[in-house]
């Protein structure tokens, strides 16, 4: 179809784009949306409706209905009328059996009598057995698009977070003036516009389009206005938080971008949409909004058809008729519901072209099966009617301000009799409105209201008010004088005037109730078509004053937004230790643990047998850098320790390591670690990797009323840590330091500071893996150097790295717990066998957990931590398997085959009566199909019960 050549065009007809529709290759042009490209190729039926499978066409160009939802490149529910065309797109219709023109389910339209309002609530529940097959049928007949479960969204999805003084929603003349006014006060302004260009209401109307482009150029030049086009508002929240999503153009690196703005004030200048006229078959393909018809021609260069009839209620409709006639469309006649009050210049323009203007007339019925081929017009005052042939019917009952964002932000609307619309009445502080949203129509008045709102948002001095036209008188007509059986209030949900009457008859008499019961405005169009028609129609049907009812509150998302856009960027963010690269070079298989990447194995053997044996018989090196590490100091440091740790911290001697635990107020273990006293009021403590981030918060929380003088610094990332473990550990360490690290000078459970070469070290003798071991804390930037020294010194012994899994097996063999593996929300210090850590000698310190520990220590029916040995070695249950008899009696926290012991052993939490040594346990593993594994409770530790090896 040849395009018109106009100054208002936003397409470039010389740049052609190829795409396929239902397998056929078609051509559009650069700047087309998918829908306009299809329209240019003669497509008139775009989809079939949800319930009745009625044909639906291009009704609006802004997405207020689901008429043009199509499947594009495998992505369902793409709104073709707002999505720019790209070359190579593969477009398919949805929810049709056959084609949109010939849908095999079209017969459902004749069964509307069986589908009254809310029929699914009353029919689709008995008999219950019928539901599964019925659900399948309903889903096939009333779905909107199909999604392959294997589908993955392609492209990048980004996020951007902005702070601004003023956020303006809507880039039309009022929005642009508001942005410029606030920017000239020196404030930062963010401007959001849904269409790909600024301009709004002026953009497609000659000669106002020149004014629009001039304002857009001024906005582009203003250094402190940041404009986002192709950006739709999603929500408006407390304290002026604005969320939106931006569709990427072909020059943007992203598919979609989530935009979040924290503003000090917001200007809503979202304009107005048409109020659909209710008449029979008001949604037939060929029926379209005034703005849609005019913009097809002015923006996309397409005449909407051959012969048009217009049934309008405001001057914009007359302007559209005159404009389209000028561009070559045959306008058969114009029906205007108003008896008088038309703009005389427009009346003359129509008369000059010989276009009949029928004042006080309205469209009553659209004729034509698959598309409009004629219209029955009716007089509102007499019983006269006439039928006119046409293939385009432009119909509108008035103007609806897009006030959704106002109600979303907590503002209130009230009916205004002059405009016949609901306007903003109460606004929360910091929220301002401007432009057509306030009922204005005159261009100068629209711009002035924008400037005014921008100045108020900037809390600046307002200019002298000029005398400008106020809001235009609007039409209050809602429905043509028809029965309404096929007059659609909501296109998406196929809800007619008749359905709304049925809802009212059943007692649903408020917009909120009718919306939900009869499904009016609950479809993908997010209520754009019913709009204000719902309360206006209800008022008529109920015979109530229209001021008594209001539109429903708009809810986020204001437009449908893809989950991928809300999920944002998908990169994995993790922390690495200073030894990360060298560990990987040594063959480490890394795994995420909390925010960290850690070496889990050093070979393909996930039992880590070689690593375990090497530590038990020789010497191994472990990267322990992720451990939480803290400096705690000050005059009241010991008080803070006493409050948070269960042990008595008042008698810590320098040079000794104290192992203790932290509990919560239920007495349950939340963390464990060691505390070292380095000086008078100077402490160094470690925590588990997982809890490190919470430690300062925890200490501060539990001392928040006391006003104690102490300070804490999180040194977790400032220090790396290397564990040298095994019978030959000392031999390796001796080679890299001059300090006396003999067992006499540096025994088990002590702390020393010395140097490795020139690297300062804080060293501890601990026994987590049950062999002589040295935990060496060095500044992060020296950790690799320290590791290299130890690796070189250990080469003659064949020192090898070991990872987290090997450490897991080694500590299990010693019965040592890991917080989060053997402990959980329900396990107190007593339950896991650490009750001996708790000191009863400090009640005045009000230690966190002490009350609960006292109250639970003799409580029966608690879980207890036990060790167990499998009856059949090698038959090892998975972690998390449950212990059962007639009921669930506990669960396995860890179980492994131990090459050291030649047995399969593990730790479990079981009901107290089963915790006796020698008790037989039956273990149910997921998927075992009833074949239980058997074990027996044994005493802990499994390996080296006397604990002699780690003291060597």
């Amino acid at each position: 179809m040849k395009r018109l050549q106009l100054a208002t065009l936003r397409i470039d007809a010389s740049r052609k784009l190829s795409f396929t529709y239902r397998g056929r290759t078609l051509e559009g042009v650069h700047g087309d949306t998918i829908a306009t490209a299809l329209y240019a190729n003669g497509v008139r039926v775009f989809s079939r409706s949800l319930k009745y499978h009625r044909p639906r066409g291009l009704y609006s160009l802004d997405g207020e209905s689901a008429n043009t939802l199509m499947s594009v490149d495998g992505v369902p529910n793409v709104l073709a009328e707002t999505t720019p065309l790209r070359g190579g797109m593969k477009v398919e219709p949805q929810n049709v059996v056959g084609s949109p023109e010939r849908d095999a389910l079209g017969f459902l339209d004749r069964l509307d009598g069986f589908m009254p309002a809310g029929f699914y609530y009353r029919t689709m529940h008995k008999p219950a057995a019928l539901w599964p097959p019925a659900a399948g049928v309903v889903r096939r007949m009333a779905g909107v698009g199909k999604l392959d479960p294997g589908f993955r969204a392609a492209g990048r999805y980004e996020e951007t977070y902005l702070n601004a003084e003023v956020c303006v929603v809507g880039g039309g003349p009022a929005g642009m003036q508001a942005a410029l006014a606030a920017a000239r006060q020196g404030l930062r302004v963010v401007l959001l516009e849904r269409r790909p260009w600024l301009g709004g209401f002026f953009e497609y109307r000659a000669p106002l389009h020149e004014r629009a482009r001039r304002l857009a150029a001024e906005v582009a030049e203003a250094g402190n206005v940041r404009s986002f086009c192709s950006t739709a508002l999603i929500g408006l929240y407390n304290d002026h938080l604005v969320t939106a999503f931006q569709a990427g153009t072909d020059t943007d690196p992203f598919e979609e971008r989530y935009v979040e703005i924290r503003a000090a004030s917001v200007v809503v200048a979202t304009g107005a949409i048409e109020r659909p006229l209710l008449f029979e078959n008001n949604e037939r393909p060929g029926v379209m909004q005034v703005g849609c018809a005019q913009r097809l021609a002015r923006t996309y260069g397409l005449l909407p058809g051959k012969t048009a009839v217009l049934s309008v209620a405001h001057d914009l409709g007359l302007e559209c008729a005159a404009d389209l006639a000028e561009l070559g469309l045959d306008v058969a006649c114009v029906a205007d519901v108003r008896e008088e009050g038309q703009d005389e210049s427009l009346v003359r323009a129509l008369a000059g072209r010989g276009i009949p203007l029928l004042r006080g007339w309205v469209a009553a019925e659209a004729k034509g099966r698959r598309a409009v081929d004629g219209v029955v017009l009716r007089s509102l005052s007499e019983t006269a009617s006439k039928e006119v042939a046409c293939d385009v019917l432009v119909a509108s009952a008035g103007v609806t301000p897009l006030a959704g964002p106002v109600t979303m932000a907590g503002g209130k609307l009230a009916y205004d009799a002059h405009t016949g619309a609901y306007l903003a009445a109460e606004l929360p502080p910091g929220l301002h409105v401007a432009g057509r949203l306030t009922g204005l129509h005159d261009p100068a008045a629209i711009e002035a209201s924008g400037r005014h709102a921008g100045l108020r948002a900037a809390e600046a001095k307002l200019e002298e008010p000029r005398s400008l036209p106020g809001p235009a008188r609007g039409s209050t007509l809602v429905m043509a004088p028809v029965e309404g059986r096929k007059a659609f209030v909501c296109f998406d949900e196929d809800t007619t005037v008749k359905n709304v009457r049925q809802a009212v008859e059943q007692g649903f008499d408020r917009p909120e109730l009718v919306k939900r019961f009869a499904a009016v405005g609950t479809g993908p169009g997010q209520g754009g078509i019913p709009g204000h028609n719902l309360p206006l129609l209800l008022a008529e049907l109920l015979g109530e004053p229209v001021t008594a009812l209001r539109p429903t509150t708009a809810r986020s998302p204001a437009v449908a937004v893809g989950l991928a856009a809300l999920a944002g960027s998908r990169h994995d963010m993790c922390k690495r230790t200073p030894l990360h690269d060298s560990q990987k070079a040594s063959g480490a298989v890394m795994r995420r643990i909390g925010p960290w990447q850690r070496a889990r194995y050093f070979s393909a053997d996930t039992t880590c047998r070689a690593e375990v044996e090497n530590v038990r018989t020789n010497v191994g090196l472990l990267d322990a850098s992720t451990l939480g590490k803290f400096r705690l100091w000050g005059p009241d440091a010991v008080k803070a320790l006493q409050r948070v740790y269960v042990s008595d911290m008042s008698k810590l001697k320098p040079g000794r390591v104290k192992y203790s635990a932290m509990c919560n107020d239920d007495g349950c273990v939340v963390d464990d670690g060691i505390v070292v006293r380095r000086g008078e009021d100077e402490y160094y403590l470690t925590t588990t990797t997982g809890r490190a981030g919470e430690t300062v918060q925890w200490f501060r929380y539990h001392t928040r009323y006391d006003g104690w003088d102490y300070k804490m610094v999180n040194l977790t990332d400032a220090y790396g840590a290397v564990n040298v473990a095994g019978p030959n550990a000392r031999k390796v360490l001796e080679k890299v330091t001059d300090a006396d690290v003999s067992n006499a000078a540096f025994p088990f459970g002590t702390y020393r500071e010395f140097v490795l070469g020139t690297i300062p070290v804080r060293a501890m003798r601990l026994g987590f893996v049950g062999e002589p071991s040295f935990e060496l804390h060095v500044p992060a930037s020296f950790t690799q150097a320290a590791w290299d020294l130890l690796a070189e010194a250990g080469a003659e012994h064949g020192v090898k790295s070991f990872g987290v899994e090997a450490q897991n097996v080694l500590r299990m063999e010693k019965g040592h717990l890991i917080v989060g593996s053997e402990t959980e929300q329900r396990t107190t210090l007593h339950d896991v066998g650490l009750g001996f850590l708790w000191s009863r000698k400090k009640p005045e310190m009000k230690t966190v957990g002490a009350v609960a520990l006292r109250q639970t220590e003799d409580q029966p029916d608690r879980l207890k931590l036990v060790g167990f040995r499998m009856d059949v070695p090698g038959e090892t249950p998975r972690d998390g398997s449950i212990v059962v008899d007639e009921k669930i009696r506990g669960y396995v926290s860890i179980a492994r085959y131990s090459s050291t012991l030649g047995q399969s052993v593990g730790l479990a939490l079981v009901d107290a009566p089963l915790a006796e040594e020698g008790t037989a346990l039956k273990i149910y593993e997921d998927g075992c199909k009833g074949k239980l594994k058997r074990a027996r409770v044994v005493s802990l530790p499994f390996y080296d019960p006397a604990g002699e090896r780690m003291r060597m």
Binding site: Y237, D239, L241, R262, R700, R704, Y705, D706, V851
Partner: protein, 83 residues
């Protein structure tokens, strides 16, 4: 959490920079004669009023200070201290 919280050190910041610390229940009571019910009350029971509440918040993504604010739980936003 779209609202703002005013940190005494850093000023008004996005609420998701903070960690919520519960209703203000006052300092830890004395442990002498503490019953199981009284302890459960102190630790777990909340008044949960729809209205202005005194709460503890921690500036996790900032200065790491624990502080109290008055907040209206019906609007989610900070409020004036009640008279």
């Amino acid at each position: 959490m779209s609202f703002l919280i005013t940190c005494p050190t850093c000023g008004p910041r996005n609420a998701y920079e903070f960690r919520y610390g519960g209703e203000d229940k006052g300092p830890r009571p004395a442990e002498d004669g503490m019953t199981v019910e009284a302890w459960m009350d102190y630790v777990h029971r909340n008044r949960s009023v729809p209205g202005v509440v005194k709460e503890w918040w921690f500036h996790r993504d900032g200065c790491a200070t624990w502080f109290t604010v008055y907040r209206d739980t019906t609007t989610n936003r900070e409020a004036e201290a009640p008279p």
